[in-house]
């Protein structure tokens, strides 16, 4: 398979779209737009899974696609929107590292992921290697988002987009068992639930979701 064939192109496009949306997540300043962009990333991921199911002839991936669409595309964003409305949160995303430097760090991480994955996967199919490099980039960008945002909701979104990257990697490799995906999805759903409860508790006690304020209540003052 090479460029010019529709299968390769479409898979490439969808994977690149998921990566582009990771960058869009880093660029956002408002929580509403952030959650919407995350929903779009989930939808695109579901489309990629559906296309991979069609191209690889693995009907199990259709289930993955449906699951991703339901969870990441619809349910979790709705839950996050509801949380934001119920807790009446500040609608801006406070950043620890500016938007510009975050984007530059993002490009650096993508380059790092490519430099690691390509030499390590000599001899595999071209599509699989590129998918793996894209997926690792999405994982790293999710991690970057978690550590450069102060707001708990945006940190949760970062964790969830990290899991999107793991799903993208799983789709690219042919023959991945479904069990792993289901358990991973369940695990992440539970984490999301816990995070929501945690956020609610923080908000109840301290009237803010800025995790920096937690430092004042640790053992010794700095």
């Amino acid at each position: 398979m090479s460029f010019g064939q529709i299968g390769y192109d479409l898979a490439h496009l969808l994977g690149g779209g998921v990566l582009l949306l990771s960058f869009v997540l880093l660029y956002q300043r408002r929580i509403g737009a952030l959650i919407n962009a995350f929903a779009m990333q989930g939808t695109l991921l579901a489309l990629a899974a559906a296309w991979a199911a069609h191209a690889q002839g693995a009907p199990g991936l259709h289930l993955t696609a449906a699951l991703t669409l339901a969870a990441k595309g619809v349910l979790i964003p709705l839950a996050l929107h509801a949380t934001v409305r119920r807790l009446d949160l500040h609608r801006a995303v406070e950043t620890a590292l500016g938007i510009g430097p975050s984007l530059v760090a993002g490009v650096g991480l993508v380059a790092l992921a490519i430099l690691v994955v390509l030499p390590a996967t000599e001899g595999a199919r071209a599509l699989a290697r590129e998918d793996l490099a894209l997926a690792l980039s999405v994982v790293l960008l999710g991690m970057l988002m978690m550590i450069t945002r102060r707001n708990a909701i945006s940190q949760v979104v970062g964790l969830l987009s990290l899991e999107n990257g793991l799903i993208l990697a799983a789709i690219g490799v042919a023959g991945m068992p479904l069990v792993v995906e289901l358990s991973a999805a369940a695990l992440v759903l539970m984490i999301a639930l816990v995070a929501a409860v945690f956020a609610f508790q923080i908000r109840e006690r301290f009237d803010t979701l800025d995790t920096a304020s937690l430092e004042e209540h640790r053992g010794e003052r700095r």
Binding site: S2, F3, G4, Q5, Y8, D9, L10, H12, L13, G15, G16, G17, L19, L20, F23, Y27, I99, G100, L103, V104, G106, V107, V110, A111, I114, L118, A126, R129, E130, A133
Partner: protein, 319 residues
């Protein structure tokens, strides 16, 4: 014989783009008005505005130097020269060997510097404000253009317009992600260079939103006609550039017969109309962003272009 054909194509192209520029701007304004629920001025209104301005005598400040009198011609001439180079309905025009993406960027930079200097000439604060902001936006838009040119140069092997168009039509490049990223970067650069929303508001004369308008605040009469015409021509040039690079179907190949030119002409008109509609829709849907968010926007475009180039290295290494 072939050279005569190329010369004729070049002359037709120049006449076409010089005449179509005001109509294109008028079309964009009319479409935006319709989308906002107004009737809007006729698409031919810019031509009447230019004719009106040409009839008037300019008023210059007492301390304005010959710079204010010369720079309108320099800027408009540079944009005309650049417009002569970007192909529209046919490839293989007489000036095609000169037509290089970096050269067109250089000629547009010449126009921009002329406008900035004319803005600073009278010594008024708005002129300096507009000039400072324009040059700083350009400082971020130019690298985005060069990095998008990097992606195109890797795929086509050259930065010449005819070479790029030929590679895209016949090279079997497919729908690459890198091209999508390069397109996004070039769109951001086009918005910044033409002073459209969200970078600058082309329809206002209020201080806080002015970048382009601030620099030509002092101009009047035939000088203002030249500045306005240069802006219209620049918009037509950018839309034509985007169409020539990313929508190359319909362009008549080099040395083609005149009936293929007619086909190319129809295709070009359709592409321009489509792009004008897209621009009007985009400007009506988005609000102008704060001045100090523009560098984030342009920086994101630059990084997107860089990402496209990096992904291209990956695929040229593999495929």
């Amino acid at each position: 014989m072939a050279f005569l054909g190329a010369l004729l194509a070049q002359a037709l192209h120049l006449a076409l783009i010089l005449a179509a520029a005001p109509v294109l701007t008028g079309l964009v304004r009319w479409l935006k008005a319709r989308m906002m629920g107004r009737r809007g001025p006729s698409p031919l209104q810019p031509l009447r505005d230019l004719a009106k301005l040409l009839r008037k005598r300019p008023l210059l400040a007492e301390n304005a130097s010959p710079v204010s009198r010369a720079m309108p011609y320099v800027a408009a001439g540079a944009v005309v020269a650049a417009a002569a180079l970007v192909p529209s309905f046919a490839r293989g025009m007489a000036l095609a060997p000169l037509a290089d993406l970096l050269l067109v960027a250089g000629l547009l930079a010449l126009g921009r510097v002329a406008m900035a200097l004319a803005g600073m000439d009278a010594g008024t604060p708005f002129g300096g404000l507009g000039a400072a902001r324009e040059m700083s936006f350009a400082a971020l838009a130019e690298p985005a253009l060069v990095v998008a040119a990097l992606s195109l140069a890797i795929l086509a092997g050259t930065t010449n317009f005819d070479g790029i168009a030929a590679a895209f039509r016949d090279g079997g490049l497919g729908l690459r992600v890198s091209l999508g990223f390069a397109l996004a970067a070039l769109l951001a650069v086009a918005l910044a260079e033409n002073a459209r929303i969200p970078v600058d508001n082309p329809a206002t004369h209020l201080e806080l939103t002015m970048v382009h308008e601030a620099m030509i605040l002092e101009a009047s009469g035939r000088h203002l006609a030249l500045w306005d015409y240069a802006a219209m021509l620049r918009l037509a040039l950018w839309l034509s550039l985007l169409a020539a690079v990313f929508l190359p179907f319909g362009q008549a190949p080099a040395g083609a017969a005149p009936h293929l030119w007619a086909l190319g002409l129809l295709a070009w008109v359709a592409k321009m109309a489509g792009l004008a509609l897209a621009l009007a829709a985009f400007e009506s849907a988005i609000a102008k962003m704060r001045v100090f968010r523009v560098p984030e926007f342009l920086g994101a475009a630059l990084l997107l272009g860089l990402l496209g180039a990096v992904l291209l290295f990956v695929s040229t290494g593999l495929a």
